[in-house]
Symmetry: none
Subunit: 119 residues, 2 copies
Amino acid sequence: MDTPSANGILHSGELEIHLGEGLVLAGGRALTLSVREFQLLAALVRRSGGIVSRKELYRAVWGSELRAGDRSVDVYVSKLRGKLEAAMPDRRFIHTHPGFGYRFQGQPSRDFHTEAVGG
Amino acid sequence: MDTPSANGILHSGELEIHLGEGLVLAGGRALTLSVREFQLLAALVRRSGGIVSRKELYRAVWGSELRAGDRSVDVYVSKLRGKLEAAMPDRRFIHTHPGFGYRFQGQPSRDFHTEAVGG
DNA sequence: ACGTCTTGATCACGACTTGTTAACGCGAAC
DNA sequence: GTTCGCGTTAACAAGTCGTGATCAAGACGT
């Protein structure tokens, strides 16, 4: 599911992230992301399947230490979700793990109690 | 069945506990546990197969002494059972030993006089 | 059988965390 | 100068957590 590929392209499910160019293709369509949005997505996808804490995400994207009360990560996760969802409705890529952080999942998982995957 | 710390990942049967991230995979799927639920599970799995008393569990998870009448451990065992059972029905991981405490068992055991797992 | 203590399960409520949107200032492009 | 998008902070909404209370069910000795 997750190809860390040599050439600088991350694949995860139907997402294709061209690291060098800042380009993201979702199911073939190009997304328009700001620099921060892009970096945040890249940071999450690099650790696809794992939970990444806000501290780590902040370090990875902003390059400094997360200060108490700073909600930037949450705001950008929200924006990112909006754009991903616009491109691919009925897919949820970024999952919240309260108290721990966020987790990116490229493949939909045969989820045990929800997942109304239409037809 | 039980691999103590390869790199911060506990395996027990079909459970995979990533200690650093707070991530639990049950049969490949990610569970969403609260911090306490996660720590409780980790404390039980660390002593997989052995009985862990409420006192010990409380110390391990809450970091202080269990006070008389405090039912927190029981409540969280119940929550944990619920989530584990949702992920893997017809498996029972956490066993009660009345008067002693709780015991985690990763593998289903073909036990000689108990375990009527009605099929 | 009975009574008693332990454990299972659920609820309500306050505290806290996370989601989301809007306002503001800034700098770039025109 | 005006317009535009971006990034930050603030504000409010929505959701989650953890605790103690409560009642049902189970274990255990007599």
